[in-house]
Symmetry: C2
Subunit: 273 residues, 2 copies
Amino acid sequence: MPRPAHRTQITKAVLRLRELIFNGHFTPGERMSELPLVALLGVSRTPLRLALAELEHEGLLRTLPGGGYVVREFTQGDVRDAIELRGVLEGTAARFAAERGVPARDLAALRATNETIKKLVRRADYESFERYLHLNEAFHARLLKMARSPLLERALDGVVSLPFASASAFVLAEAELPASRDILIIGYRHHAGLIEAIERRQGARAESLAREHARLALTNLEIVIDHRDVLERLPGAALISLPDRPDRDPGITPVPEPDAGLEPNPGLEPERA
Amino acid sequence: MPRPAHRTQITKAVLRLRELIFNGHFTPGERMSELPLVALLGVSRTPLRLALAELEHEGLLRTLPGGGYVVREFTQGDVRDAIELRGVLEGTAARFAAERGVPARDLAALRATNETIKKLVRRADYESFERYLHLNEAFHARLLKMARSPLLERALDGVVSLPFASASAFVLAEAELPASRDILIIGYRHHAGLIEAIERRQGARAESLAREHARLALTNLEIVIDHRDVLERLPGAALISLPDRPDRDPGITPVPEPDAGLEPNPGLEPERA
DNA sequence: CTGCGGGCTGTTGCATGCAACTCCGGGCTA
DNA sequence: TAGCCCGGAGTTGCATGCAACAGCCCGCAG
C-alpha cells in the first residue's frame, strides 16, 4: 500500500474490500476466493493478492492452512480487548507526552480543539455531531503525535485498524441514542484532564486518564448491544459474533476459543512465520 | 505468509531477506530493487514482492513515495521505545492474566520453568546459556498465552518483530559480558514476582513488574553500546544509527525525525492507507 | 455398510511479458 | 548563464498463462 493515493489497483482493491467487509457483504468465515473477487472488483489477480495480504495484516482476514483467506470473525471479548488495548496504547502515548514534555503551542492547540468540542456536545443537530467526530479524531491524532514515538504510532495503527476499536467507533450511536449523550460530556472532561496532566508532567495520571477515556467506548458498546437495530448499522458490526444470537451459518466455528489447556511442560517454540 | 512451512517461494524469500537485513547485508536507506533481489534470491518477482510487502508490515522496510522499498533505519530512541512498548504490552498481558485468573496448572508450569532458569543462571557455560534463552522465550510465550487475548498477541507480535525488541534481544551479550550477568538474577526475581502477583490476582503489581522486567533490556542496551564489538555481532544492530557514529553513507536522511512543529489549527485528517 | 483409492474440479502459487511511470541528464533556448 | 524541455534508462505496476496442490465426490472392494 504505497503512499500515492488510490491511483494504484492495490489501494483501490484494499479500499473497496474493506468497505465490503465492513458492510457485511461477506459473512465471517467465508472464503475469499481470488477469481470471484477479480470479477467483482475489476482488478487483476496480482494486485488483488497484495490487497488481500494487506487486509490480513490489518487483521480483517485470516489465512487458511491450505492457502487462501477467509473473513475473520470477532467475539465480543475481542471487541472488549481491542478497546482496552487502545486505551493501553493511548495511555502510553499520553504518558510519553507528559514525561517528555510538549511545546506550549501544542497544548494550546489541544485546548482549542477541546473547547470547540465542549460547545458542540451541547447541541444535538447532526451537523454538529459530524464536526464533533472530526474534532475528536483530530484530538486523538494530535495527542498521539505529541508522544513523538513512531513505533507507538505503528502499534496503535495496528489496533485501531479493527473497525470497532477506533476512537469514534461506537460514538456514532450516540447521535441516535440520547441515553448515551452524557458520555460526550465525560469525554470532554477526560480530554481536559489529559491536557492538564500532560502540562504538569503527570505521566501516571495522563496514562490512567487515557485508559479510562477509551473505556467509554466499552460503555457505548453495552448500550449499543441493547439496541440491536443501531448496532446493525455500525461499520464492522457484521464481523462480531454475538453469543445470544443463534442464526449463524452452519459449518463455521462459532467461537475461535484459544486452546484453554496449555500443556504443562515448557517446550513450546516461539512461533514465527 | 501462509501457514505451510517454507515450502513456498514467499516464505523462502522472507526468511532469507530477514536474515540478510539483520546481518547488515544491506545498509539502511538502501533501495531494495526487485531485479537484483531476484538474481540474489533465486525467486521470481511475484513472490518477491509479496515478501517485501511482508517485511514492510513487519517494520523492517519502508516504502518510497515513488514506489519501491528501502531498508528502514532505527534510532537509539526507536530501540528504547520498542523496549518500553514491549514492556507495556507484556504488562498488559500480565495484568489480564491476573485479572482474569489462570488455572493452577499454568502457574505451576511457569514456576517450573522459572526454577530451571534459576539453576541455569548460576552456571556460566554456553550450553546452559542456550537453554536459558529457550526457557526465557518459553516463559514469556506462556505468560502471553495466559492473557487469553488474541488481539494482544497480535499487537505484541507487531512490536517484537523488530529484532532489538524481542525478549532476549540484548541478552546475548550477557554471555560475553559478565558485568551484565547479574541482570539474569534480577530477571529470575521478576519472573517469580510475576507468578506470585498473578496467583494473588494483583493486576497492577503484575503489570508494573512486567514493565520493569522489559526495562532490563534497556540496561543491557546501555552496557552493549559501551562495547561496540559486542553490539556489532547482535542481529539487527546494523539497522541502528548511533548518533556518535559519523560514518554513514551520504545521500541518506540520517534521522527520520517526525516533523516537530505541529500546525496550530486542528484540521488534520486521520490518515488511513 | 464402511473404508479406501482415484480422478476431477476448483483454487492458489509462480513466472514472465508488457506498459506506464519516475528520475536524471543533456541539450537547447531565452 | 540559467532555466526549461525532452529523451532515455531503469524501475515498478499489472495482467495473464501455466503448473501444482488440496479437497471432494464417486465408485469399488472388503
